[in-house]
Amino acid sequence: MESADLIIKTARKSKIQKKDIKPEMIVHEGTLTTFDNPLVKYINVKKNFGELQVLKGIDLEVGYGEKLTIIGSSGSGKTTLIRMLMTLEKPSSGIMEIEGESLWTMKKNGKTVPADEAHLRKMRSKVGMVFQQYNLFPHMTVLDNCTIAPIKVKGMDPEEAKEQAIQMLKRVKMSDKINYYPNQLSGGQKQRVAIARAVLMRPKILLLDEVTSALDPEMVGEVLNVLNEIAQEEKEMTMIFVTHELDFAREISDRIIFINEGYILEQGKPESILNDPKSERLQAFLSRFKENRNL
């Protein structure tokens, strides 16, 4: 009896300890991970959903104009990580900053207080997001989807907004469908409109969460092509991709980070991360992909 108790106790203890130890972050040679003037900064950011610890201590800086890709297995917290930057999810602890200014707190009469809606709106104006499920507004045409926020939120002149939207829709090859409603479009077309809608707000940081995962295979290519072009052209715009399209990530990213069990385990330039993974976890993750491809 006694020995059984002991085993259980030790097991519990070791489990807790394992949870609390932050793994050494592996940084591949020649990778820029800190910046004099970072656009985005996460400092020891943690996030739980109830009992579930999803992110256990994220430290991350993102530079101006950087194209960053986040990879990691399903459920590892990639979506949660970027949703916090869009203010759709609030961290349980830690500090997040955009352009050196704290996202979730603000200064009021010299004191630090939780951010109010006005502060969050100011910060949110620097961020945009493209969702896995497009989330176009079904009651508006393609054109209205693209112009409503510039007009209502940014106060842009409607004619000007329309002109810009048409230009942008040309870039995503949707300008022949401006008067269509979302439910008249294919998944790939919807997602291209969603990309146009987000870019038109000219955010400093654009978040793209598995934007091709919900698409039929034959539509993935058209969306990735459009994204590739936009990533090339929008040099100023910082983009954070969550994707399982590793070839795409290799082509467009400046840096790839690998998330595992709530921590950033490994990061580096695309070639290096994808060809020369250091940790067993990343090796296993990448070989699962290669296997799937061969199927």
Binding site: M86, T87, Q133, H139, M140, K152, M201
Partner: protein, 219 residues
């Protein structure tokens, strides 16, 4: 010939009385809508006490009869020094009753808007009121309209109860005219049916138009 004259005469008097029914319908429906929207939104309030209070109102007014509510407002409230004219009493009773039924429809309509839509609006940095006006409301109203249209028709039919507190609406006038000449009973009540049906049809087609508008872009 005399017969046609007589029918026409009855019809004109009934149409005259239906003005009361129509204005009662419009005023009560507007007030019921305001009550329904406020209550429906409050049923989603994060404070439990507020939800409980509104829920209590809804349950009481749905769980008891409109006629009894009308009697309370017209006959009982004066004992507490609240005396309302017949028309006002009718409006208040009908609006409170149908407002309670419709609050549930409004609540369900708002709940039907996917949370992804709200997140997309947030990602585009809409203010809370812009989010409501441009994104949530147009999608919620589409779900609400069929239910609200049904309630509208019920409300029109429900207005007939005000004849029981002596308000001279369509039904009341019919009953009075009938006592003048019992032989006209049949013709009077046929015409009453037709007029109620006509009023309902007009409002129903109004709702159909609104539904069509709210359905733009949907399959």
């Amino acid at each position: 010939m005399i017969k046609i004259d007589k029918i026409l005469n009855i019809l004109l008097r009934l149409i005259d009385a239906s003005k009361v029914t129509i204005s009662l319908t419009i005023v009560a429906a507007l007030l019921a809508s305001v009550i329904a929207f406020i209550s429906g939104i409050l049923l989603l309030n994060r404070h439990k006490i507020i939800r409980f209070l509104v829920r209590t109102y809804v349950e009481i007014f749905r769980g008891t009869s409109l006629l009894v509510q009308l009697y309370w407002i017209y006959f009982v409230l004066p004992f507490f020094s609240v005396e309302l004219p017949k028309f006002t009493a009718g409006v208040v009773a009908i609006a409170l009753n149908y407002g309670a039924y419709s609050a549930e429809i409004v609540r369900a309509g708002f709940l039907s808007v996917p949370k992804e839509q709200i997140e997309a609006a947030k990602a585009l940095n809409f203010t809370p009121s812009q989010k409501m006006r441009y994104i949530i409301f147009p999608q919620a109203i589409r779900i609400m309209l069929p239910g609200l249209g049904n309630q509208m028709i019920e409300l029109i039919k429900g207005t007939a109860l005000v004849s029981l507190i002596g308000l001279e609406d369509l039904t009341y006038s019919g009953v009075i005219m009938r006592t003048n000449d019992i032989a006209d009973t049949f013709i009077i009540f046929i015409l009453i049916l037709v007029i109620y049906y006509a009023i309902s049809s007009i409002f129903a087609s109004g709702f159909k138009l609104l539904e069509k508008r709210a359905n733009v872009g949907r399959a």
